[in-house]
Symmetry: D2
Subunit: 437 residues, 4 copies
């Protein structure tokens, strides 16, 4: 966890204190269920909750000190609780195994993290929608291979991002559903020493589903799917970040990250305004993606479990969720405040001497009866001249002066093919598809 | 694509001929729609389908030869079709861009591949269910950390695998749904030169959804999610394969891959019967996982598209689906014919001198009023003796001879704690959770 | 292996026939050594070489047919050789295990592949050097964050690439050295049934080092390092490819991939000249990188070996080397024929109204006694005006008109700070560092 | 950085204070060189070193507070130094760019980290050597595919690990050499505003090589190679850890991690002694491997640099080195104290009824004139009976009773083939190869 790429709300989920609080709740709810089943005295559950009602501080250092001796974190925690609650605490954890607590706790943490990420995505979607609508009809050049292709609008770029992050939101919701399960099934998942009704009770109290079949642990394919989903979302962040970085290039400059007054772009070059936020997002995306493979490697645990997954999750549980949360927030801020330059977009759109309309002319020639091959040849020979002039020549002018072209299309017909509105006529359709009517 | 790890049905999807057939269908359906809209003559569409009705052979070599000149695969294909269909073919591809064809074709291929993978998973689930029911109550030792823990049944191991692959099936179905979209939206996705109704028509004919907003291409987050899903499934394959490898170890030998009469395990050691199929599956899982990261890196294309994704997909499209298909089939065969040795399972279960029952004794002592710490100490000191004897001593005998123990539990009470049935009492519950009642 | 991304020389290394030829040589050399040691009759070795001298065709189909029965590739091969050589062949493979043949063969293949890759790198280095010298003093703008920074030369960009690929060459040579070892040590590496002198003899004949200690196999950390090295080289390819893609952008257009007369950039837009080769290289780099993780996962084989590495190597052995070979060749061609536009470079360099000289002014102000903070403020306030004018205003003019500036620097002193030569004065030094004097 | 997987010495390298100390040294040495060249007054350099000689505390919070305003870390640091040193500090950083400081600092940090890792590897090698010599002739079964193959010694397993980590050490030394370069070349690497002699001076003082050609930054292929090397080492750690995990399995139990008296293996099962350290190492290896891909993705920065690499390095710089350092130490401890059970090794070796000698019999039959195919058949039919008896039958006895066998080999000849010493006769040779004579 890197403090500068961390927001408090998400980081709090991964604090030791939070973990211990969740552990307590799991143990106390389980004790309730055990008491209800007559396995332990009801006084035991009451003693736990009574102490909890005093809102006791969690003494992380004390628990760590016990762990240093026992080398076992759950035993250390139980010992510390016993020291505080007293003799009744001995009924706690009856028939359970450490992983019942650890894995169910991780499920709670990942579910909470998912809720934050879903809220992040909602905010990003809101901002994308607002800015997409704002620039719905702001013309700009569409580029394939980095080369000018045909006109689009800046709003279209954002509606694409909206649709992509809407898919990400759906995937995140599915990932949350997959991960939010409770397992309290004992040492090898057989419920030998604990009734399945305890699991059902705790699951209900914590808002989790019951894990249908666990071993000692919740199966790690669930977690693999969870982190893979974060990796996909990170890649979508990288895509939008890359778009902004391109748009801010000196020669393009169609949009810019917001630049605050006190900010210095470079210790050496005072004029520089660099897309550092989106470059940063590109790097953060690499990290979140990098956590996918360890999560996949965690699936094949030996037999009923080995503990190799645990160290991996100590890293990627916090690191992947905190980083992705931060990145989504940062991206939302970038889009929210993005400086958009429609005038420059117009200038860039025109700079190729009308080449962006070449396909329309090609189609018109074909429709006027010229063979596809000839049409292609006619357009290309004029287009190449414009290209080589770096936009100084006008494709329309050249076409009007090409007798083979004018044999098929009149000057007026040619002029009609250079109309920008032609390209934007279905923008409404696309927006309606994504945002609804 | 490695022939030995390839099955014909899946490989056929990725043959050039298949691709060209799908291209033709896309183009011909699009021409139908264009004709319906009055953009091209109905005779053009008819000419295409008439030719197609003759069931023409696809001359891959001829198309490749044209591409060698044009350096553009779709143009090469269109040229070849024109040469065969004649003049009417010039109306084909009107207003479309290559990616309309390429990306929609890839969607068809991945959807077909998904269907095969779903069928593979169904077969695997069938086999897992059959063998799980067969061994529902076959006792075997459950192991955590590779160390004997408490009894489970062999059927439980398989029901866990069933539940895991049932999740994989659900993920695969979601991945199929994500990937099966049709984009015919022109050079930068604006439908400038092609009516959105063409896209809708082709989508309907091919069983695809309409891509709500495309650029020149279908957004690659869909494909990233697809290949990430395959990577998760591969990891689950590795898990079950690893289980079999462990069970076949000489010292364990609770199960074995089927060994055919003519098979030779080693050129040097004629007695060897090696788990080569599951070791192979472990390697294949690494490959399918390895394709996830390139797919994630493919998301951040520049602007309305760059073509960097294309070469990646030429590899991983076939390689990931063919390998996973093969691996699922191989795993199904392994489980189907797996030689299971219940007698050996029983032998292993008993070899630790009853240590597997230690927890039950611990609980009984606690319930009999001994403090948790004392109970733990009493059990551990006897357990350690058994452990050090390598199972020659019996835990039950030692406990019966320990006065501190017998002060709390009578010999008969102790004997009751060594009952195997105790551990299996909830197996029905678990099976019912997974398979239904 | 994708035919279109494959060159014959490298692909040939991975043909079954090549593999069988290497197997034969290993077996025959080993038989020589065994005969020399008196373990087998000299007539056995002679019989093998006599047959080999007839230059027999390798009947891959026949060997495959035998393998279909024995399910063991080396036994199948030995059987086929026996069928051809006759009774004397029974002395072949004495005391050896399959992996002795397989792993030593892989070492030969990877060493040969390394030699091709080293030659590829040499060709690339030659081309980079030639073009670097050609454009040693061609001024162009240096960019950080995609934003204009200060002048460099185009030759400097290429000399950087040269230095990077020279490092890659050194790494490749180290990787070759690591991988080129011979192990003929028997079933578990103890030489129980084969004298270490056999290994030494075969190693010498094949130009390999002796593997100091093997198990049944050559340890896979060697292969992991090999494929990791390919992944680093691929990443350097991506870097240079990305540079070209950026330079070819419509708004930048300082360089372009060579565009052959017959080539069509787009089925729809005849004017397009797209950097498709370097985009393709970007994708190929993703693939070669993607093979690194499976190679790393191959290291931790179980005990003296398991065979999980084998399937992985059947994919990545050919795929990584063939793809990297192709990519290096393609990159070499791109750089060799790259169309460079110095005029456009000059135009871009000037387009920011002299902002690229801002740092020099900043330094001059500091040296003239203005505090660092004030200098920064003075330069930035003028630089911002130029920036906002999109290069229409001139930084030099504004500075000359700023009394706080002219209080420290005279107009003539200011003009001196806008000299391009100032930035290029150490180009010779850098070239000498890389190419030598 | 996870505190529990972190050692103070390595963690200290990545503390903010350490970073600022290195920054200061770079700046002060550079100021020395600038003063020597007459660019800045010698008093400036003296002022810096005079202040430094007071051993000033680094006020990280104060620097962070300045960065919160300037949003630029190096400027914040320089400002803070100026506040402390006074007016003379304005000459500091003359002609330099932030990356000159940042990248050279990272080189120092990674070089220091390398030194720790090299020392870690040395300690591990020492321990491996000691234990290898201790168990040089401790017989144990060699296993391929997890199946008993032929005898080896436990020392051989360790000498293999020694050779592997000796290779890792060599790779680490190469990675250190690659990474330890100094770049002080200004905003785009042209030395426009700073003399190359400054770079040479600072490099010399810090024990770094001069980076022959930098852009604004040190090229990231160096870092990619560095982190890839760590990934390979991590994989070798996983291999040895996996070996220990296998050996500790209940059914094998040939070795065990040291188990301290107070340690509790399980909250539920007091008898459990789990290989938790090596399982943990398996997980840590996944993490270090997971950092390789982000490092590879960092290579292709845009033009003269973008800052996307920076966030990645903030994570993986500390995380990869700290984790690997911890893992190497932990592994060293595991091997150092590993409980080895030669008696159990002997018991396992014998449990297969002599099957491990089958190859020797096979060879003897061949040498006695039986055809290879017949020899194989004879050995296999007896071996299979032993196999199916789970070692209750003796291969030697069966062979003695098989007339086809005894027709070729006398009982005494057969007995000679079951001698363990036969398998160990070249152990000395192998040890000499690795450790020297």
């Amino acid at each position: 966890m890197i403090p500068r790429y961390s927001r408090p709300e998400m980081a709090a989920i991964w604090e030791p204190e939070t973990r211990f609080r969740i552990w307590f709740e799991i143990e106390a709810h389980a004790t309730d269920a055990l008491a209800e089943l007559g396995v332990v005295p009801k006084s035991a559950a009451k003693a736990l909750w009574d102490w909890w009602a005093t809102n006791p501080a969690i003494d992380v250092a004390a628990i760590d000190a016990i762990e240093a001796v026992t080398k076992h974190d759950v035993i250390a925690f139980l010992t510390w609780v016993s020291e505080n609650v007293g003799d009744e605490a001995r009924f706690m954890h009856q028939g359970m195994t450490s992983s019942d607590v650890l894995d169910t706790c991780l499920a709670v943490q990942l579910a909470r993290a998912s809720d934050i990420l879903l809220a992040d995505l909602d905010r990003l979607l809101d901002v994308l929608k607002r800015r997409a609508l704002e620039h719905k009809l702001t013309p700009t050049i569409g580029r394939s291979h980095g080369i000018h292709a045909e006109p689009v609008t800046f709003g279209l770029k954002l509606v694409e991002a909206y649709a992509e992050f809407a898919r990400c939101r759906k995937r995140m919701a599915a990932a949350r559903e997959e991960i939010a399960t409770c397992a309290i099934s004992g040492a090898v998942g057989t419920f030998a020493n604990i009734d399945p009704r305890v699991e059902a009770h705790v699951a209900g109290k914590l808002g989790l589903a019951v894990e249908p079949v666990s071993t000692q642990v919740i199966p790690r394919d669930r977690h693999a799917m969870f982190f893979a989903t974060l990796g996909v979302i990170a890649s979508s962040i990288e895509r939008l970040a890359t778009e902004v970085r391109h748009l801010q290039r000196t020669e393009v400059l169609e949009a810019e990250e917001y630049f605050s007054p006190g900010q210095k772009g470079s210790s050496a070059m005072p004029h520089k305004r660099n897309p550092v936020l989106t470059e940063n997002l590109t790097g953060l995306a690499r990290m979140v993606r990098g956590y996918v493979t360890p999560a996949l490697e965690n699936v094949a645990l030996w037999h009923e479990r080995d503990i190799s997954h645990s160290s991996v999750e100590r890293y990627i549980g916090p690191d992947a969720t905190i980083t992705l949360d931060f990145a989504l927030q940062r991206l939302t801020g970038v889009i929210d405040k993005l400086l958009v330059y429609p005038e420059r977009m117009g200038k860039n759109l025109d700079r190729m001497g009308g080449l962006v309309h070449s396909q329309r002319v090609l189609l018109a020639l074909t429709q006027a009866g010229v063979s596809r091959e000839d049409s292609y040849r006619l357009v290309q020979r004029n287009a190449m001249k414009v290209w080589e002039s770096d936009g100084a020549l006008s494709l329309l002018d050249l076409l009007k002066a090409d007798p083979e072209v004018t044999a098929a299309l009149s000057p007026q017909e040619l002029e009609e093919k250079f109309d920008l509105g032609y390209h934007l006529k279905h923008v409404d359709t696309i927006f309606a598809r994504v945002f609804g009517d």
